[in-house]
Symmetry: C2
Subunit: 146 residues, 2 copies
DNA sequence: AGGTAATAGTTGTATTTGTAACTAACAAGG
DNA sequence: CCTTGTTAGTTACAAATACAACTATTACCT
């Protein structure tokens, strides 16, 4: 309840993370938005399929920590645009396999290359060692559950 | 367009930042949500007023990089709950000064103390030096505009 | 086999957000 | 003063999100 000069809320980690994440997302968001009319969740699904190849919606949810309704809607829109195709599994007809189409792969490759450049710009001036440490600290924070 | 083994999208900074930010926000969000029925933007406005004292909506927008509609709505709800009061400026009747009420200050103090503990838990096991570097790297990323 | 529970994915509804248009008050140039 | 432009803050409407309820299919247990 008292004033606490040892803790500055401006340095509150969740707040800083949000600020940095929002700032960093914005520019790149414009790329996939303007170029391909995609939303963030769609780009996420796309790039998971680009990296891992065939996956189910649940697989993506587990990897990306995305809720299944987000995935469901993202998949729907990506399918409409013919960036991916859905295939029912014959041995378990609840599950649906997702694969990028040729066009989806092209879009992925393009965005991935843009992402590479943008990422480089973000860590410009930062020693590789520092950038790597930053990334692994973020991975650790993201892995925290509960 | 070709495969690029030197760049792993899983380590894409905007993505990692988002993952970490979302994970870190979640727990703390539950605190102010459950305890005071507040939304994230309301907590942000509250804590800016707690730190800086009297501010206008525009001041907060500039500091927090928050859009004015978000602030407008957050202020509205905070005023309804009597966490802050609005006062028109006499010399420029467009601007409105915002001050926390006694109750608002109590809520701020409580949340701030909870935030301190949660922040400590987040960097637990990390040397102080590393945590400080992380924070300043995030500040730098957040400051990037354009 | 038959009933209950679990899983994959979708849909409905209520909130929340983003964008743009709006009102009100002030400022500056003629 | 009077027009034009700017700034503070609000409101309206479209889009996105969260959460819960839903369908369909498979698994488990007796």
């Amino acid at each position: 309840m008292r004033d606490d000069p040892d803790f500055d809320v401006r340095m509150f980690l969740p707040y800083l993370l949000n600020q940095a994440a929002e700032a960093a997302s914005l520019e790149f968001q414009n790329v996939y938005k303007d170029r391909y009319g995609m939303l963030r969740n769609e780009w996420r699904v796309l790039f998971h399929l680009g990296i891992y190849g065939r996956m189910t919606a649940s697989d993506i949810g587990a990897r990306a920590q995305m809720h299944k309704t987000k995935i469901s809607r993202a998949v729907q829109r990506l399918a409409e645009r013919r960036y991916l195709v859905r295939t029912r599994d014959d041995s378990d007809r609840r599950v649906e396999h997702l694969d990028l189409t040729k066009m989806g792969q092209k879009v992925y490759a393009d965005l991935r290359s843009t992402a590479r450049d943008y990422d480089a710009a973000l860590v410009e001036g930062l020693p590789t060692e520092d950038a790597d440490r930053l990334r692994s600290q973020l991975v650790a924070l993201a892995a925290r559950r509960g």
